[in-house]
């Protein structure tokens, strides 16, 4: 025991790196399909709202993330857009993060092809403009003025999908997929509460706990948290995707960290009791 403790305390961290790599890689190479995924109320809150929107009504989507959060929010985006297309909603998308525009295009195109939806009629991508707060206010005041052209350069006034929507006042529900700021909080403060619509949140794990107060006040109707939330949404749609596939890796990774924290504290506790 005595020889083990100092060795453990000064363990080369590259050994731990290796363990992490294996814990994540193993389920990729050999999927375990671990059971136990259950849908939480917070995720259902978004699903039910979209389910309740009448076909043909607009759904605003904001892709406020960049490639750094792709594994968490890309599957979520795909699931939401699929759901919207299944319900024949008109998807109006935008992005407050400049490097998110490419991912948004990719998600919309992939899901659009899958459901045979036509750009301009069934979905529109407005794109990105600088000054996120002003973009939200601008959409609330006058969509056509803020985005005279969509991301592909079309005149926004001429797009059929935007006929019924001239500002955020014509929107009843939006889903914001956010990795930080600008994101959910900005959409609530400058968009939803000012122009009178509801928000469903999709958030990375890092910011999700911080958004819970909005869930309780009803400023958010629901909250999809991280890859786990995305997997739950995929389960609701009965269409498993990349998030569901990632659950095994997360399971093993988490258990590894839990063991490490416990082991470390036990070792620390023993070392403090050892004489000398």
């Amino acid at each position: 025991m005595r020889w083990l403790i100092p060795r453990l305390l000064n363990l080369d961290r590259r050994i731990i790196f290796l363990a992490v790599g294996l814990a994540i890689l193993l389920p990729i190479v050999h999927p375990l399909k671990l059971p136990g995924l259950k849908v939480t109320q917070a995720v259902r809150g978004v699903y039910d709202r979209i389910e309740a929107l009448p076909p043909g009504s607009p759904l605003l989507l904001s892709f406020d993330f960049d490639p750094a959060s792709k594994p968490e929010l890309h599957p979520m985006g795909v699931a939401i857009v699929r759901h919207a297309f299944r319900r024949d909603l008109k998807v109006i998308a935008t992005s407050l993060w400049i490097t998110g525009a490419g991912l948004a295009e990719d998600i919309l195109q992939t899901a659009g092809r899958e459901f045979n939806k036509r750009y301009g009629e069934d979905f529109v991508f407005l794109g990105w403009q600088p000054q996120p707060i002003n973009v939200i206010i601008g959409l609330g005041q006058d969509l056509y003025k803020t985005f005279p052209r969509d991301y592909r350069g079309n005149d926004t006034r001429a797009l059929p999908a935007l006929q019924q929507v001239s500002s955020l006042r014509d929107i009843r529900y939006m889903v914001d997929l956010a990795a930080g700021s600008p994101g959910v909080e900005e959409w609530i403060v400058y968009g939803a509460d000012k122009y009178g619509f509801k928000v469903g949140g999709g958030a990375t794990a890092v910011i999700e706990p911080g958004l819970r107060p909005f869930l309780q006040t009803g400023q958010l109707t629901g909250l999809i948290g991280a890859m786990k939330g995305a997997a739950e949404y995929e389960a609701l749609l009965a269409q498993p995707g990349t998030a569901t596939a990632g659950m095994d890796a997360l399971s093993l990774g988490h258990m590894l960290v839990i063991l490490l924290v416990i082991l470390s504290n036990v070792v620390y506790w023993i070392s403090r009791r050892l004489p000398g």
């Binding site: 000064n10 890092v206 911080g210 309780q216 009803g218």
Partner: protein, 441 residues
């Protein structure tokens, strides 16, 4: 988690009176109902009473409302149908809206008591669109035209039970843009109140010294520096990765002055690795000044502050390397940090140094708290710097914010008390109305 919206209690009250009124009013209702029941069979429907149309207050000028009295014969068996025209003589071609006799407010919106007295004796209907005169060919539903600001509109209300009809006289209203939204009066009051609080406290702090409590984390500083002196090992001080204009970096430079002064007094040594040349320039001045104040200008060296690199993980890796080699006795992490915080504190902890952090980076705080011996959380960092610098703007702002917090605490306690007692004794309506000033409309 269940959500209890106090307004649902209010709406419930509007449509179904609470139990105590039921008991009290029962005999009265019976008295009224008896002759009425006899009357309804024979007499014609009563046309809407006291009908008037007005501009909807506090809007851009595209809505009006109609209101008329509630009569005992209102029930779900009858309907009120509203017709509109842009000429007093009509025609009144299409119906605008149809509501049931027992509906009171449309829409069932929430309004504060000061802007909209909660009248239980009237039907109120908000109108934003009327049927357009010319509807395009081939369209199924009649087109709706929004009301235009400044143009007179004429309305009449017809009450019907499916067989009989009874018409009201024509009334008119002109929708107008308003200059003040009374629903937001409370918000304006808070804006003014907060402005006065902050400005007043800053002005006061300029005139005299205001009290701020000592931040307990500052006591840990002495211990850490004492330990460094004993062990003859350096103290590391990091100022975060934000630019010099951020509040947390400014706070970090203020604290650096204090810590450098103690280090100089004790005769220990300090190292400050930098990631921003501007912050470094400021810190050089700060440390020099501190050494002079401590009476040890001779001990000051230019390379106490040194530039490492401006890239995120590169900085962390280089500082980690230095820490491992020099085994500091104490590490201070003040200011704003991003994801590199994890790398820094991990290595710091593994060298066995006393670690003291102070940051307002909410996402990094968990990692600081679990790997440092003491952490100044969020505003505590500003408070520590205000406490040390005695800068009137900093101190005044903190005191002003404290007053704001005290106000919020009072609002919360009062609110919870009112709602709880209201639920207990059945006066939810009064309780929720009393809480209107704390709400958004």
């Amino acid at each position: 988690m269940s959500k209890r919206d106090p307004s649902t209690a209010l709406l419930g009250f509007l449509f179904t009176p609470p139990p105590w009124t039921r008991v009290a009013l029962l005999p009265l209702l019976l008295l009224c109902a008896l002759p009425l029941q006899a009357a309804t069979a024979a007499a014609p429907l009563i046309p809407p009473q006291d009908l008037h149309a007005s501009d909807w207050p506090g809007d851009t000028g595209h809505a009006v409302y109609l209101s008329w009295k509630v009569v005992p014969s209102d029930s779900d068996a009858i309907e009120y149908v509203i017709y509109a025209a842009d000429d007093p003589a009509g025609p009144f071609p299409e119906e605008v809206i149809r509501i049931q006799g027992n509906e009171r407010h449309l829409p069932a919106g929430k309004f504060p008591f000061w802007a909209w007295p909660k009248r239980r004796d009237a039907h109120v209907v908000r109108i934003e669109t009327i049927p357009a005169r010319e509807s395009r060919e081939g369209e199924e539903a009649p087109r709706k035209a929004p009301l235009e600001s400044g143009k007179p509109y004429y309305f009449k209300v017809v009450v019907t039970d499916g067989v009989q009809r009874s018409e009201s006289p024509v009334v008119s209203a002109i929708p107008q843009g308003n200059l003040f939204n009374w629903n937001r009066l409370n918000n304006l009051i808070y804006t003014v109140l907060f402005s006065v609080l902050i400005l007043w406290f800053i002005a006061r702090a300029r005139r005299r010294d205001l009290y701020l409590r000592r931040i307990p984390g500052l006591d840990a500083v002495d211990e850490a520096i004492g330990r460094a002196t004993e062990m003859g090992r350096p103290v590391y001080y990091l100022t975060g990765r934000n630019s010099i204009s951020s509040i947390s970096t400014i706070a970090a430079t203020v604290l650096l002055g204090e810590i450098a002064r103690k280090v100089a007094t004790y005769g220990a040594s300090i190292r400050v690795p930098h990631t921003d040349p501007l912050v470094m320039a400021v810190c050089q001045e700060v440390v020099k000044q501190a050494y002079t104040e401590a009476g040890r200008p001779d001990a000051y060296q230019e390379d106490i502050n040194f530039f490492v690199t401006d890239d995120q993980f590169g900085y962390a890796a280089a500082v980690d390397g230095l820490m491992v080699r020099e085994a500091p006795a104490a590490c201070f992490y003040m200011g704003f940090y991003y994801a590199e915080a994890l790398l820094l504190t991990e290595t710091g902890a593994s060298t066995g140094a006393i670690q003291i952090a102070g940051t307002d980076a909410e996402h990094q705080l968990p990692f600081f708290v679990s790997s440092c011996d003491y952490t100044l959380i969020g505003e505590e960092l500003y408070a520590a710097s205000a406490y040390l610098s005695r800068d009137p703007v900093l101190v005044g702002t903190l005191r002003g914010q404290d007053a704001g917090k005290a106000l919020l605490v009072l609002m919360l306690m009062l609110g919870v008390l009112l709602v709880t007692l209201g639920t207990l004794f059945g006066f939810e309506e009064v309780a929720t109305a009393a809480l209107d000033p704390f709400k958004v409309f």
